[in-house]
């Protein structure tokens, strides 16, 4: 376990619906740090999508496998890692093409990674089949653009 005093760890079963617990845990950490409600909404959606992906693609909905959520709070940013036991996301984030979706040339679903990427300040996916793969998201307290 990470011994950094400002690290919070959450472990959830891979069951749809439980991502809400991660959303609310992260939201209260972000609120303690002083993030605005708008940024907290962004973070909640990003974390929900990362948890659902970890449950579905990483842990194949095996409820006995856990999704880890590690929140690291620093002076001006909040980093969230969402870990699963799978081999990680291989593909790059692709923006959804709504025209192609409407013409059924691409699946209606498949927007999770794009939303994560769009909603947080930094996002990356790390594949390390040995120790578990993770999505890493960061939001900054004082970000210049939006």
């Amino acid at each position: 376990m990470d011994k950094n005093p400002s690290t919070i760890e959450l472990h959830l079963p891979s069951r749809l619906g439980y991502e809400k617990i991660a959303m609310n845990t992260a939201a209260s950490a972000a609120r303690l740090m002083g993030f605005t409600d708008e940024r907290i909404e962004d973070l909640k959606t990003a974390i929900a999508e990362a948890c659902i992906n970890a449950m579905e693609h990483g842990n194949k909905f095996d409820e006995s496998l856990r999704v880890g959520v590690i929140l690291s709070m620093s002076e001006d940013s909040l980093e969230v890692k969402v870990l699963d036991t799978g081999s990680g996301a291989q593909q790059r984030t692709v923006a959804p093409d709504i025209d192609r979706k409407m013409h059924e040339e691409e699946q209606a679903r498949g927007m999770g990674m794009f939303l994560i990427q769009s909603l947080v300040d930094e996002a990356e996916w790390v594949s390390s089949p040995r120790t578990g793969s993770y999505a890493r998201m960061v939001i900054h307290l004082h970000h210049t653009n939006d």
């Binding site: 749809l16 809400k20 659902i52 959804p96 025209d99 409407m102 679903r109 939303l115 909603l119």
Partner: protein
């Protein structure tokens, strides 16, 4: 126990235009388990329903799987020559719908009146 589920209520309203508008009012969660609530409800509408209004004002949680179901409804509606407008999304989800590009095929309105009026434009 763990899935709150989607509640759906159907309404018919008449705006200034006089043409009846079918309102699908969602409440609760819209997620991957909302297939019946979203697509099932749509499929149960009569062919005559040409103007459809989606009311998201009582939705508590919406994720990308839920948005995918809304897109599937929009695909079906576009095939049937139906128009879909929406209202009641929080500013956050208005942003998310815009990011995804849905706003190219439906318009987002702050409330029922504005949405309703937009049908007659």
């Amino acid at each position: 126990m763990q899935e709150k589920g989607t509640q759906v209520k159907l309404d018919e309203v008449q705006c200034s235009s006089g043409t009846p508008i079918t309102v699908i009012r969602f409440a609760g969660d819209i997620t991957s388990v909302s297939q019946a609530a979203v697509l099932g409800t749509y499929q149960g509408l009569p062919e005559s329903a040409k103007r459809i209004l989606l009311d998201f004002s009582r939705v508590e949680y919406l994720n990308s799987s839920g948005i995918a179901l809304v897109i599937q409804m929009m695909i079906a509606a576009s095939k049937h020559g139906q128009t879909i407008k929406t209202f009641g999304l929080t500013p956050h989800f208005q942003k998310v719908f815009t990011m995804v590009g849905i706003t190219k095929y439906t318009s987002l309105h702050p409330d029922e009146q504005t949405a309703c009026a937009a049908f007659s434009e």
